[in-house]
């Protein structure tokens, strides 16, 4: 296993050369005061050191140890507590937090790079700060001033951590049917009773308090999703002076035994008349949760990206060191018993595919993050509305496409190792197991696809899609005179047209048959993702082309060659996907359930 190194050069390329993030930050008054290029660079450096030096070395052993449950307490793997403390001391939990309550107020474009490093270095661990950040976003957006005052500073500092309690044994995707109940008390608090499962970092020994945001139903709440409210339920009740009081009435009943992310505690949480406080309005809990979800969903996509990056780092090192067979056109290292496997075309196919997804994925996550920044910080209503639309459209793509390609990438990274990839000591198989959950949680990728195709594309009658299409079209038009870009732009235009055609077709079909959306959804999201990555690669070519001439390092030429590979070898997948979508819903809906 290669020691993880934060890909700072790649991140700087994306931030500074592809997206000119410093200019974006300078244009947003809410950010401009917090960050300049030097600060951003220092943060990247420091994040690289902490993730590579502190988190990555714990990853393998923590997978072996896992978390241990003992009478309701959860012990984390060796070194986790200390690593968490290091993060707290560096203030990393509050990197993107609201400065009013002690956060650092950094833009998502920058925070996304830190998230990627953390998830690449140690996904199990990375889930704790990620969940905390998500809880903070929901609390910041919907909590009362008192709740915010009391909890946000401690969450941003990391002294306390956060957890999100949604799923119940019978209800995951379909939260409308949850049963956990919340009964109002005379003092304005609520008594929470019920069982929640799959609660990531629901209990542990790294922070002194754990703040759960719990979905529950008030007495006489309407049935279904419109009868769900959100409550803040701390592990320890908090005294008025901010100190910890007595233990609240709930606990961790057991830990799940699972495929991967073994070092993160996946808890069954039993609420037994626990004391909680309403966050946001009654019966609007799901809407409040969605605020957090948009944020988290990009974060999950970034987990897929992180796992892919870690896998790529190990695979290319192995491919360069492992010697096996000769190159088809003659020995490259005649003094050795065989050539490094990097010379073999098929090994290159795997590495180039990985590189395409990782670097394209990083550009895409940064692109989505830039829309999140504009949506949050812009003072121009029109610009904000536009950015909100882009965020709504692109979030499900970022979540599902980056995790699907993340899994593909880790599987290829394992394949490069041959038999050694199946063996635990090399770390490649752990990345596959860890990455696999990202396609499932925070809304399965099937749900993301329904969100994209149904709610966003069909729901807006194509208007949201047009925002993206315009962005791509503008890019194509603005660069039509650029000789280096021309071959890419033609293919990009064709891919966009293919996607637009299919979009139109499904919107039309959906009007006639409600099943059309679900039948097209997953293939559509895939197609969207491949097209969006083609756009990212064209942007990267633009940033690299003029520098490639004087480039002796191979960095910029590498970018152009990878773009070529992506366009020639991976983008054609959209043709197959389009054909599947065009065939309609019949193939899926015609068989009776018993015939399946």
């Amino acid at each position: 296993m290669a020691d993880y190194q934060a890909p700072l050069r790649e991140m700087r390329f994306v931030l500074n050369e592809v997206f000119d993030a410093p200019a974006l930050w300078a244009s947003l008054p809410g950010v401009a005061g917090n960050v300049d290029p030097d600060t951003a660079d220092a943060i990247l450096e420091e994040a690289g050191k902490i993730t590579a030096g502190v988190l990555a070395p714990l990853n393998r052993e923590a997978d072996e140890q896992g978390c241990r449950w003992n009478d309701g307490d959860v012990t984390t793997p060796e070194g986790f507590k200390e690593a968490y403390q290091t993060l707290v001391e560096g203030g990393w939990n509050g990197l993107g937090g609201n400065p009013e309550f002690g956060g650092m107020g950094m833009p998502k474009t920058l925070v996304a790079q830190f998230e990627e490093m953390m998830q690449a270095a140690n996904m199990s661990f990375g889930l704790a700060p990620m969940l905390t950040a998500g809880a903070c976003v929901a609390l910041d957006a919907h909590g009362s001033p008192e709740l915010k005052e009391k909890y946000l500073p401690k969450l941003y500092s990391g002294e306390w951590s956060g957890a999100m309690d949604l799923t119940e044994p019978h209800a995951g995707t379909d939260l409308g049917i949850i049963r956990t109940k919340a009964e109002p008390q005379d003092d304005g608090s609520y008594r929470i009773t019920g069982t929640k499962i799959f609660i990531t970092w629901g209990e542990h020994d790294m922070a002194e308090n754990i703040v759960h945001l719990v979905l529950a139903k008030l007495p006489d709440a309407p049935k279904g999703p419109k009868g769900i409210s959100m409550f803040l339920v701390p592990k320890f009740l908090v005294n008025d002076d901010g100190s910890l009081g007595e233990r609240n009435q709930f606990g961790c009943g057991s830990l799940e035994k699972k495929m991967g992310i073994k070092a993160s505690a996946t808890c069954v949480m039993n609420y037994d008349g626990a004391t909680g406080w309403l966050v946001g309005e009654e019966n609007k809990g799901l809407a409040a949760m969605f605020t957090m979800m948009n944020y988290e969903r990009l974060g999950v996509g970034i987990q897929g990206l992180g796992a892919a990056e870690a896998s790529l780092q190990s695979a290319r090192e192995y491919a360069n060191e492992r010697i096996q067979s000769r190159a088809p056109t003659g020995a490259r290292q005649p003094d050795k018993a065989a050539d490094p496997i990097l010379v073999h075309p098929d090994v290159r196919r795997m590495l180039m595919t990985m590189k395409s997804f990782v670097e394209g994925g990083r550009a895409f996550s940064t692109y989505v993050a830039s829309w999140l920044d504009i949506a949050k910080f812009s003072e121009d209503d029109q610009q904000r509305e536009h950015a909100d639309g882009m965020v709504a459209l692109l979030t499900p793509v970022a979540k599902a496409f980056l995790t699907d390609r993340g899994l593909d990438t880790t599987i290829l990274g394992q394949q490069v190792f041959g038999g050694h990839g199946f063996i635990r000591e090399w770390g490649q198989e752990q990345l596959v197991r860890d990455c696999r959950i990202t396609q499932i949680y925070e809304g399965t990728n099937g749900i993301q696809a329904m969100d994209l195709m149904g709610r966003k594309v069909v729901g807006s009658e194509g208007k949201l899609f047009e925002l993206f299409a315009e962005d791509v079209t503008n890019f194509i038009e603005q660069n039509s005179m650029d000789a280096a870009l021309r071959p890419y732009l033609e293919s990009l235009a064709a891919a966009l047209e293919r996607l637009s055609d299919v979009t139109e077709l499904v919107i039309k079909q959906a009007g006639e048959n409600p099943e059309a959306v679900g039948a097209a959804a997953v293939d559509y999201l895939d197609m969207f993702g491949y097209t969006a990555l083609a756009y990212m690669w064209a942007k990267m070519v633009k940033a690299a082309a003029e520098k490639a001439g004087n480039d002796t390092s191979g960095f910029y030429t590498g970018k152009i060659k990878t773009a070529r590979f992506y366009y020639d070898r991976l983008l054609p997948r959209t043709v197959a996907l389009a054909e599947g979508i065009r065939s309609g819903e019949g193939a899926m809906m015609a068989p009776d359930a018993s015939e399946i």
Binding site: P328, E429, I440, S553, T557, G558, G580, A587, I596
Partner: protein, 599 residues
């Protein structure tokens, strides 16, 4: 863990209705015992054993794993007893040579049993499965004495076997292996070296283990032409045939792996162990090629098994799990929600699995019949034709089935949502176990080079024609069949395109040999999808005929037609992406400066 139910109806469909097993067995030399009743009884009995004995041990094996102790390797609870039952039931010998205690039934029947064993419990199935390699080697290349000594015990199952190929520094490239064999005066050899990744290399299920070891003789030529095969038993056989004193070899450690935890993956240390040459000196690799196809079909079954097990588990779950309402109105108005099988995307996942599992079964059984003919065909022409077809189908079956079987297992897990990720449901184990299929017995990349380089291009396309001719004939015969048109037309077009793209790649490869490796995996996947297209079209034809004649099993046959339709509309289009990718040329892969990978 899903309880495995052997898909007997589908097994019968493929064997009898699609591939006319009765005529097939009647056409073989010495397969008189393989009457329909007999075959059916064997399959039923095998199904019972797999469902009742092996399936319940699958999760146990994963949880407990194997342990290396001072007394050797301990297999998971129940494994040893199950093996004893397997031996008592006579299962190891069903297809073996009657001269050495076998029952001499056709190999295709053994593959059906292997399918059921492997689906119920792949880790367990690898113990008897690995014996096949040793049996095949000794059967094909052993002396009469070696056969008497080893084959009888392997056939009865009292002893098991392994194949010791890989070493720490060499896997795909066996030419660089270092294990050495020095001649003793008594005609035996002293074997010294380290072998890794030896499945079932050491265990407590049988009293002796017969290793077939690849090693080099002193002064052997370098590379692949200096490798010889040796029989190296764990315990040296006594005069009376019983297992005697321990040989100088041992299991040094067990690998910790992603899956197949119930199977012992051993580092084997040979420390001057006594061995005997089998086959001619320095021809070890050639000797292994004689049964490589059969061995690889055996591995291909893992893809089928993973798809079938994931499908069975997720189908049951999709019918029970309630979440959301159908978009076209409630289907289960009395429940709090509808079963998730009503949702189109869940159906996409289920139908993909069904198309893969049933298509894979058809491909394995088709290949199995070729194995039969190669062994027991009545004429040399028949044998040669079957051998050619088998050679072509083998790398496709091995790589394509394990790849899409893995995809299928992941879909099975995805249907379960979060529960799929939890060990108790068994779906994640299925994914972990299935992953090795794409790696061992020659990775997907190696299979693809075998298909495109060694077979198709080296034969100037003749190897491909063996198959495309069959497809062409089928399309021609059914050109006027209106009902079948939706399948035959696209199939005929693809069949033609297949030849065209092969020609194109052949032309570019003549100029640049790198083109073969640059196109190979996409070519293999492309080929696999067309092979499946052919098999699904044939299955649709059989089903449509039954439906036209009037059948009591309307649902079963309708499902076949629907699944074929799903396959053609949703999965077969993937050929388009593979075709474009493989024709993109080697430059996109090789132009990349090596340094650019590292910055």
């Amino acid at each position: 863990m899903p309880e495995y139910k052997a898909p007997l109806r589908d097994i019968q469909f493929v064997m009898n209705e699609l591939l006319s097993a009765e005529q097939h067995y009647a056409s073989l030399e010495g397969a008189e015992d393989a009457t329909p009743d007999m075959v059916d009884a064997i399959v039923q009995e095998g199904a019972k054993f797999c469902e009742q004995v092996l399936s319940p041990l699958n999760r146990v094996g994963d949880e407990e794993g194997c342990k290396l102790t001072d007394d050797g390797v301990k297999t998971p609870s129940g494994f040893k007893e199950a093996y004893q039952q397997y031996v008592e039931g006579g299962w190891p010998s069903i297809t073996a040579d009657p001269n050495y205690g076998g029952q001499g039934l056709p190999h295709s029947i053994g593959l059906v049993i292997s399918e059921m064993v492997g689906t119920a419990n792949w880790s367990w199935g690898m113990y008897p499965g690995l014996s096949h390699g040793a049996i095949n080697t000794i059967e094909a290349h052993g002396t009469e004495e070696q056969k008497q000594t080893y084959l009888t015990k392997l056939t009865s199952g009292e002893w098991t076997g392994t194949m010791c190929l890989t070493e720490p520094h060499c896997g795909s490239d066996l030419g660089t292996l270092r294990t050495k064999a020095e001649p003793n005066e008594d005609g035996s050899y002293r074997i010294t070296g380290t072998k890794i990744f030896i499945s079932a290399g050491e265990h407590d299920m049988a009293e002796n283990i017969v290793h077939i070891v690849l090693a080099r003789l002193p002064g052997a030529p370098e590379g692949t032409k200096g490798i010889s095969l040796f029989i190296v038993p764990k315990c040296l056989p006594n005069e009376d045939g019983s297992a005697g004193e321990r040989n100088g070899l041992s299991c040094g450690s067990l690998e910790h792996k992603m899956g197949i935890h119930g199977n012992a993956t051993c580092v084997m240390n040979f420390d001057g162990a006594k061995g005997w040459l089998i086959g001619p000196e320095n021809k070890g690799l050639n000797c292994m090629f004689t049964f490589m196809n059969t061995a690889r079909i055996g591995t291909a079954i893992q893809g089928l098994g993973a798809a079938e097990l994931g499908f069975q588990g997720s189908l049951a779950y999709a019918k029970e799990r309630l979440a959301m309402r159908s978009l076209s109105g409630p289907k289960n108005p009395d429940g709090i929600a509808d079963p998730i099988i009503v949702h189109p995307d869940v159906r996409r996942m289920l139908l993909t699995q069904k198309a893969i599992a049933e298509g894979a079964r058809a491909l394995i059984y088709l290949a199995g019949q070729q194995v039969d003919i190669v062994h027991s065909g009545k004429t040399d022409e028949e044998k040669q034709a079957a051998d050619a077809l088998l050679s072509f189908l083998t790398p496709i079956a091995k790589a394509f089935l394990t790849e899409i079987g893995y995809e299928s297992a992941n879909l099975g897990m995805q249907v379960f949502g979060g529960h799929g990720y939890i060990s108790e449901w068994g779906m994640e184990q299925n994914v972990r176990d299935a992953r090795i299929g794409m790696i061992y017995e020659g990775t997907t990349g190696i299979q693809a080079l075998d298909l495109l380089g060694r077979k198709v291009l080296m034969s100037q396309g003749e190897a491909l024609k063996v198959f495309t001719k069959q497809v062409h004939l089928f399309c021609k015969e059914n050109a006027d069949n209106e009902q079948l048109k939706e399948f035959v037309e696209p199939l005929a077009a693809l069949n033609k395109e297949w030849g065209d793209v092969t020609m194109k790649i052949g032309m570019t490869a003549m100029k640049n040999r790198e083109e073969v490796g640059a196109a190979s995996v996409d070519y293999l996947m492309y080929s696999g999808y067309i092979v499946f297209g052919y098999l699904w079209a044939r299955m649709a034809k059989v089903a449509q005929e039954q439906l036209a004649e009037g059948t009591t099993e309307e649902m079963f046959y309708n499902a076949k037609v629907q699944t074929a339709r799903f396959y053609f509309k949703r999965l077969l289009p993937r050929t388009k992406a593979h075709a474009e990718a493989m024709l993109a040329g080697a430059d996109t892969l090789l132009d990349m400066p090596e340094d650019a990978f590292f910055i």
